[in-house]
């Protein structure tokens, strides 16, 4: 499981960085989205990976991290997803504005 997650983060992050450096605005925004997926998965993984463990305390399970998933990274990743989503939407609007004003989708507004 660790390997799969690590490869997923690596592939998403690598593609994200590559697309971010491309000259078309659509590629840039896709790159930023992929990069934020990679970051979100990374944050999620810092709570260490576990199967069938809940983040919420229940009475019949002793209250240590051995028996539960760490809730903090889950809360963090939720916040990060919301912020990342909002920023991507905002960036999309600016990109459309730039496309309309410059009549090109090059990031510099000129070919």
């Amino acid at each position: 499981m660790e390997l799969v997650l690590a490869v997923a983060i690596g592939v998403l992050g690598g593609s994200g960085v590559w697309l971010l450096l491309r000259p078309r605005t659509f590629q840039v925004i896709m790159g930023l989205s992929l990069l934020s997926y990679a970051v979100n998965l990374f944050i999620f993984s810092t709570g260490s990976l576990a199967i069938d463990r809940e983040p919420i305390l229940s009475d019949d399970v002793p209250p240590t991290l051995e028996h539960y998933a760490d809730p903090t990274p889950q809360a963090l990743v939720l916040t990060a997803i919301v912020i990342g989503f909002a920023m991507t939407a905002l960036f999309l609007v600016v990109l459309l504005g730039s496309r309309g004003l410059a009549h090109t989708d090059h990031v510099d507004g000129a070919e």
Partner: protein
Amino acid sequence: MIDALALLPHLAIAPIAVPMVTAAIMALLPEPWHRLRLALNVASMGLVLAIAAALAAWAHARGAVVYVPGGWPPPFGIALVLDRLSALMLVLSAFVGLCAVVFAAARWSRAGVHFNPLAQLQLMGLSGAFLAGDVFNLFVFFEILLAASYGLLLHGSGRPRVGAGVHYIAVNLAASSLFLLGTSMLYGLTGTLNLADLATRVPHVLPADRGVLHAAVALLALAFFVKAAMWPVNLWLVPAYGAATPPAAAFFALLTKVGVYALLRCSTLFFTPAPAAVNDTLLLFGLVTAALAAAGMLASQRLAPLAAFSLISSSGTLVAALGFGDAQVTAGALVYLTSSTLTASAFFLLIDLVDRWRNSNATLEDEAPFLSASLVADEGLNLDDEQQVLIARPFPAKTAFLGLCFLACAVLAAGLPPLSGFVGKLAMLSASLAAPGEPARAWLFLGVSLGVGLLALVAVVRAGIRHFWAADRAPPALRFAEGVPLLALLLACATLTVLAGPALAYTRAAAQALHSPGGYAAAVLGRGRELGR
């Protein structure tokens, strides 16, 4: 009967809450009620300024004050920490914000729809970043202030602003990803995000995990470098600030200081005493940034890039000063930070007035005199042959006002006596020479900052000669609402000079507290124990 003193702790959240509520109200007001929005904007900024001043006095008397909005004892839940440094930054941001919105009231706030709510949200993000007691809230407030700054940068629209905005947003979103990566790595290592808790746990990270810790801190530092406009990740700043509307650019002068603040806060909390690698990195990148920015100032043909480069050079000087890891140097740097932020804001506002005055009947040739129409250098250019007969003329008061303001900006930017730029630089440089460690570092710092000051002086004075010693021109149209904030910013610098003693005493106390982070940690965690009982 409500006890006023019992309410005082709750004031700590007011710098965040007041602008948030004001922004929400303003966003709901219909467009024709423009004057009401402006009045609300100015009133809210003024209120936050008054509250911030009260908080600064309180923090100065008490040291670090911890406010726990949710009632969860730290290190759990959200804690706002107010110490002398954050109080200073709060006062500075509210004051610069007030000057920017008063200036914008005359003209620029009508260039787009939502200037007023965005300015409030910007203030909210700044206040939150300065008060945040944990790394993740620092990230969240960074995003709030960045989101507001995207809006403010695009205020007025137009192709240069949108073009610069695309780059600015892309760079900052990428930097935010790095910030998140660093934050989550720190959490994975230490199991906490609370700054005070981190300060106690980072020294105890196992040697086997030190590599990951260094990677996490390096990612955070890179994210802060982007915000603080450090070389080599500062190429976004000049086009963005040059294209922004002047009041927005004046407000943005604070944004680079948020990066410096975050660097100072995290480096002192995590690494005291700082390892040589941290100090050398800060000093090296700071000096290179300052030197390249000075070269950029010399190369600037227009005024807006000149101001943007001077902002970068002050940022570089500040980060280099942090590289000494010495309380006395940091104390001087905090005075310089205050002075250079006020100067940069005043400069951006002044440039608007000067540009408008010149451009009333200007051509491209006036704006970029040594360049041809396609903005490349003219061949065979001879600057020495232009001569005009000098005839005495009456000198309009408004021209004199602009000229004197420009002179003050030049003196401040170069760090010449008698104004506060000199006080800050003198305090930094003299303390760096007395600081423990290799004297070569101090001499290098001294040489580079004095050299940068000289180049800044040459660049600004050259620009001043071109703009003010020109032939016949009608006196500038200067509105009261535009002259007052400019004058207020410069008078604040003058006040900082006159009151340099108390100011230095305050920043010394702030720097002492920063460089002995035990007090900060004890205040936050002690408050946690108090609440936990």
